[in-house]
C-alpha cells in the first residue's frame, strides 16, 4: 500500500511539473544603453525587448489597426540604429560572453528590413518587417556602427579582449535583399600609432586610373585613410602626425569630399578628379588632397597601396580656425567653379579657397555663423552654375541665405540675413520616402531648433520666411518629421500632449492623449486612399513593465478617432 501511495503521488506530481515559457517571467527591461528604446522606420516602429532578445515590430495593416511581429536578434544588444532612409535596422549583439559551450551564441550583427513602402519595378509596394541577414562575429562588438548612406556597407569594430586590434575594421557587404549571401571582411588599416575615430563613405568617384571607386574614409587621431571597400588592398593614408609641405598638422575632425564633376564642363578641357579637404582641430590650415594621372609616387606624408596615380597634398591657409568646411560651386566668368568654403566664426567671415590656384577670398558675413548647409536642391529657383547655402550659428540670432556666384567685384551673388528668435544648433531636414503623395514636396522647409529654447522655427527657403512654433514649457520636445515629409510630430517625454504641424499650411494640432507619451512615430499603411498610401501616427506609452500605443490618423489627427492598444510586449511569446 505504501508503494502504491508513493507511485500515485509521484504520478500526480509529475502531471503538475510542466513549466511555461520563461518569457512570461521576463519583465520588460528599460533600455539604458546602446541607443533609444524605440526607433521609427518608414513603415514600422521597432521596440527593443532586451529581456527576450528580440525586437517587436509594429506595423499597421490599415485603419487604426496594429499588428506586431517579434524578430529575434542576438543576446545582449550593445547598439542599434536605422539607416539614413529609415528602411533597415542594424542590431549589434555581444552574444553569450564568455562562451563556454558550442551552442553559446556568438556576437552578431542582425540586419532587419523594417518594412514599409519600397519602390519595386517602378511601383511602390508594402513589405512586412523581416530579418535580412545575420553576421556572426568572433569578438564582442564595440557599441558603434558606421553605415554607408547608400546602403552597401556597414563597418563594425570589435574589442574588449585581452588583446585587441583597434585598427581592425570588419566591413560588412550588406545584401540588397534576403537572398544575397552575406559577406564580411576584416581589414587592418595602416596605422602610425592611432586608431579609428570616425568612418564615412563617399559616393562613386572617378580616379585618374580610370576606375570609379567608392571610398571608405577612416579618420584616426593622426591620419586620414581612404580605402576602396571593393578592394581592401587599395589604401591611401595621409599622415597628419608629420608636417606636410613644412606645415604642422593636427587631428582631423572633418573630411569634405567632392567629385569635381559638372555637366557643363567640356571633356576636351581635360579630366577632373575628386578633391578632398580635411579640417583639423585648432588649425587654420586645411590640407587639400587632389589626384593626378601620373605614376604613383610617394609624396611625403602620403602612403599609397594599390593605386596607380599620384596623390598630392596642398595646404590652404584660411586665416582662422574654421568651424565647418564644404565644397560649393560658385560662378566665375559665367562658368561653374569649385571652391572650398571654410566658415570662420572668429572673424565672422567665410573663406573661399580656389583649390586649383590655392587662392583664398573672404566674404564678410556680419555674424559668427558656424554651420553651413547646402540647400541648392531644396529651393525652387536654382542658380545655373552655383550653390545656395544656409548659414546658422549657435550664438547667432539670425540665419543667412548665401547664394554663391559672383556679381561685379563680389565673389558671391547675395547674402540675405533674417533675424530669428533663437540661436540654432540643429537643422532638421524634411525628406520624403516612397509613400509621399505626388506634388506635395516640402523639401524647401527646414525645422530649426536651439538647445534650450521652448520654440522652434519652420524655415521656408523659397519664401525666405521663418515661422515660429511655440512649444510652451517643452524645451525638451522631440520634433520628428514624418517620413512622407507632410508633417512633423512634437512630443515631450512623459507628457500626455502631443502636436502635429501640417506643412501645407503650418497648422498645428494639439492632441491630449489619455496616457503619457514616450515617443510618436508616423508610419505608412498598406492601404491606399485616393491612390496614395494612408498613414497612422503611433504614440507609444511605456508604463512600468508594459508598452501601450495610441493610434491616430496621421493626416487628420483627432482624439475622438483613436484606438488604444495595451500590453503590446505580451504578444509573440506563445
Amino acid at each position: 500500500m505504501r508503494h502504491g501511495t508513493f507511485l500515485f503521488c509521484a504520478g500526480v506530481l509529475a502531471l503538475g511539473c510542466g513549466d511555461r515559457s520563461s518569457a512570461w517571467d521576463a519583465d520588460y527591461e528599460s533600455v539604458s544603453a546602446g541607443g533609444p528604446p524605440t526607433q521609427g522606420l518608414s513603415g514600422s516602429v521597432a521596440v527593443r525587448d532586451d529581456a527576450l532578445d528580440r525586437l517587436v515590430m509594429i506595423t499597421s495593416p490599415g485603419g487604426r489597426d496594429l499588428t506586431t511581429k517579434a524578430l529575434p536578434v542576438g543576446k545582449g544588444i550593445v547598439y542599434w540604429q536605422t539607416d539614413a532612409k529609415r528602411e533597415r535596422l542594424f542590431v549589434l549583439s555581444e552574444g553569450v560572453q564568455p562562451r563556454r559551450e558550442r551552442d553559446d551564441e556568438k556576437p552578431s550583427l542582425t540586419v532587419i528590413d523594417g518594412g514599409g513602402w519600397r519602390e519595386v519595378d517602378g511601383r511602390a509596394e508594402f513589405h512586412e518587417p523581416s530579418i535580412l541577414a545575420r553576421y556572426e562575429l568572433d569578438d564582442p562588438p564595440n557599441p558603434v556602427l558606421y553605415l554607408d548612406p547608400e546602403g552597401e556597407y556597414a563597418v563594425v569594430t570589435v574589442g574588449g579582449g585581452v588583446v585587441e586590434n583597434p585598427n581592425e575594421l570588419l566591413l560588412v557587404n550588406l545584401p540588397e535583399d534576403g537572398d544575397d549571401e552575406p559577406t564580411i571582411e576584416a581589414k587592418t588599416i595602416r596605422s602610425f600609432g592611432s586608431s579609428p575615430q570616425a568612418i564615412s563613405f563617399t559616393k562613386r568617384l572617378r580616379f585618374p586610373d580610370g576606375i570609379g571607386r567608392r571610398m571608405m574614409i577612416v579618420q584616426t587621431e593622426q591620419e586620414v585613410a581612404l580605402i576602396d571597400p571593393e578592394n581592401l588592398d587599395t589604401e591611401i593614408t595621409v599622415r597628419l602626425s608629420e608636417p606636410l609641405n613644412g606645415v604642422n598638422m593636427s587631428s582631423p575632425v572633418e573630411v569634405a569630399v567632392h567629385d569635381n564633376q559638372r555637366s557643363q564642363f567640356d571633356p576636351d578641357d581635360g579630366e577632373r578628379f575628386p578633391i578632398i579637404a580635411i579640417r583639423l582641430r585648432n588649425r587654420s590650415t586645411v590640407p587639400l588632397l587632389s589626384f593626378e594621372a601620373a605614376p604613383s609616387e610617394a609624396e611625403a606624408g602620403v602612403e599609397t597601396t594599390g593605386v596607380d596615380f599620384l596623390v598630392t597634398v596642398n595646404i590652404a591657409e584660411v586665416g582662422s580656425v574654421p568651424s565647418d568646411i564644404d565644397f560649393f560651386w560658385t560662378e566665375v566668368d559665367a562658368a561653374p567653379a569649385l571652391r572650398l568654403a571654410a566658415l570662420l566664426p572668429n572673424r565672422s567671415e567665410v573663406a573661399l579657397v580656389n583649390p586649383d590656384a590655392n587662392y583664398t577670398d573672404y566674404v564678410a558675413l556680419g555674424a559668427a555663423y558656424d554651420h553651413m548647409t547646402r540647400v541648392t536642391d531644396d529651393v525652387a529657383v536654382q542658380p545655373l552654375n552655383s550653390d545656395v547655402a544656409l548659414l546658422t550659428g549657435q550664438s547667432v540670432y539670425s540665419v543667412a541665405f548665401w547664394e554663391l556666384g559672383s556679381t561685379g567685384t563680389r565673389s558671391y551673388r547675395s547674402l540675405e540675413t533674417h533675424s530669428i528668435g533663437i540661436p540654432i544648433n540643429q537643422i532638421i531636414p524634411i525628406t520624403q520616402d516612397a509613400s509621399a503623395p505626388d506634388g506635395e514636396d516640402y523639401g524647401h522647409l527646414k525645422l530649426l531648433r536651439g538647445v534650450t529654447a521652448s520654440e522652434f522655427y519652420v524655415l521656408d527657403l523659397n519664401q525666405r520666411q521663418s515661422a515660429p512654433m511655440l512649444t510652451t514649457g517643452t524645451s525638451g520636445a522631440n520634433i520628428t518629421p514624418a517620413p512622407d515629409g507632410q508633417r512633423a510630430w512634437v512630443s515631450v517625454a512623459n507628457e500626455e500632449e502631443i502636436a502635429s504641424v501640417r506643412f501645407s499650411d503650418l497648422h498645428p494640432t494639439t492632441l491630449v492623449l489619455e496616457r503619457p507619451v514616450a515617443a510618436v512615430y508616423d508610419i505608412a499603411q498598406p492601404e491606399t486612399t485616393h491612390g496614395s498610401p494612408s498613414r497612422v501616427a503611433i504614440a507609444l506609452h511605456i508604463e512600468g513593465a508594459s508598452l501601450g500605443a495610441t493610434v491616430l490618423d496621421a493626416r487628420a489627427p483627432d482624439t475622438a478617432d483613436t484606438r488604444f492598444y495595451g500590453g503590446i510586449l505580451l504578444g509573440g511569446i506563445r
Binding site: L13, L15, D19, W24, D25, S546, T562, F564, G566
Partner: protein, 319 residues
C-alpha cells in the same frame, strides 16, 4: 511553483489520512464466512443469487456488524443439526434460546456481490481535489506550471442495479484557478465547471467498486490581467462546453457492513481521465465602467482550452 502544486497534492492526500486511519481492517463476509443470520422467526429461505437481493433488502434487520466484525450474538454458532445448506439454498433454523429475540434485534443482511443492497443503491455527496494537467499555451500567462487544481463537489444517486453492475447519475461542480504574473502584470484565471454524467459501476467487492464516467457540461472562465500601460484590469469571461471521461475506483473507509440499512458510509474515491473544454478566445477587455482609454482594443492573449489528463481524489458520503 512546483512546490505549491506538490503542497496541494500532499494536503489533499493528508485529508484522506484520518479516514484511512479510521477505517479498521475488517473481515469481509465471503462464502467461507459464517452463514448469514436470517430471520430466526420465519426461517425464510434466501437464495444468494437472482432476486434474493431485493428480498434481502426487504427483510427486517437482524443482528448488526460493527465495521464488519460480527457481534457476540452473531458469533454464536448455531447447532450443527439445525443448519442445512446446499449449493443454492441455505435454510436456517434459529435455535430456540440462542441470540436476540426478533423483537430485540434483527439479523443484519450481509453484503455479497449478489446481494449488495445499499452498498450499491444509495445517494451520495462527495468532495475532492481535482488536478488537471493543461498543456495548453493559453494557460501560460496565468499559471507558472501546467497544473490546474480544483475543488470538486458532486452529488449522485444510483438509478439501477443488477448484480454487480449499477448505473448512477452524477451532478458535479468543480471550481479552481491559478494566478501568476505575465511579464510583470498580475494575472488570474478561475474556471467553474458543472457537468452531469452517468456513472457505470462494477462492484469488485462489496466495499470496492470501479466505475467509468463520461460527463458533459459547461465551463465558465474568468481571466484577468492587470495591464500596466492601461493601468486597468482587463477581463475575459466566457462559457465553453466541457467533456470529461474518467474512470476510477472507490473503496469504503467507514460505515457499518450491512446491505440493507441506509446507513452513512464514507468512501475514498480516486479517478483519472481526460478533460476537454471548448476553445475560448482570450480577448482581454476592460470593464465598461473602468478608466481605460477610449476605444481600447482587447488585448489578445491567444486562446485557451483546458484540455488534458486529470486526477481526482475525493471523499464520498453515501446514505
Amino acid at each position: 511553483m512546483i512546490r505549491r502544486e506538490a503542497g496541494y497534492l500532499v494536503a489533499s492526500m493528508a485529508l484522506m489520512v484520518p479516514w484511512v486511519a479510521a477505517a479498521q481492517p475488517a473481515p469481509v463476509p465471503s462464502e467461507a464466512a459464517p452463514a448469514k443470520p436470517s430471520s430466526p422467526a420465519t426461517g425464510v429461505a434466501i437464495e444468494p443469487g437472482g432476486d434474493s437481493v431485493d428480498q434481502a433488502a426487504d427483510a427486517p434487520p437482524g443482528a448488526t456488524w460493527e465495521d464488519g466484525a460480527p457481534t457476540e450474538a452473531t458469533k454464536a454458532e448455531p447447532p450443527a443439526e439445525s443448519v442445512a445448506a446446499s449449493a443454492s439454498v441455505v435454510v436456517v433454523t434459529a435455535p430456540a434460546n440462542v441470540g436476540p429475540s426478533a423483537t430485540e434485534e434483527e439479523a443484519p443482511t450481509m453484503p455479497t456481490l449478489e446481494h449488495l443492497g445499499t452498498y450499491q443503491k444509495h445517494t451520495w455527496v462527495g468532495t475532492g481535489v481535482r488536478t488537471s494537467y493543461v498543456n495548453d499555451p493559453g494557460l501560460d500567462p496565468f499559471a507558472e506550471t501546467d497544473a490546474l487544481v480544483r475543488l470538486d463537489v458532486g452529488v449522485g444517486r444510483t438509478l439501477f442495479g443488477y448484480r454487480q453492475v449499477s448505473l448512477a447519475a452524477v451532478l458535479d461542480y468543480a471550481v479552481g484557478g491559478r494566478s501568476a504574473t505575465a511579464r510583470g502584470d498580475a494575472t488570474t484565471i478561475m474556471a467553474h465547471q458543472i457537468t452531469v454524467a452517468p456513472e457505470l459501476r462494477f462492484h469488485v467487492w462489496p466495499r470496492l467498486f470501479v466505475f467509468a464516467r463520461p460527463a458533459v457540461g459547461a465551463e465558465y472562465f474568468r481571466a484577468s490581467i492587470e495591464e500596466s500601460s492601461m493601468n486597468e484590469e482587463l477581463l475575459q469571461r466566457a462559457w465553453a462546453v466541457a467533456y470529461d471521461l474518467s474512470a476510477g475506483a472507490a473503496v469504503q473507509l467507514y460505515g457499518k457492513v450491512s446491505s440493507d440499512a441506509r446507513i452513512p458510509r464514507l468512501w475514498l474515491v480516486a479517478d483519472g481521465g481526460y478533460g476537454w473544454t471548448g476553445r475560448v478566445d482570450l480577448e482581454m477587455e476592460a470593464n465598461d465602467d473602468s478608466d481605460a482609454p477610449a476605444r481600447s482594443v482587447p488585448l489578445d492573449l491567444g486562446d485557451l482550452t483546458l484540455r488534458g489528463p486529470q486526477f481526482q481524489i475525493a471523499a464520498r458520503l453515501s446514505f
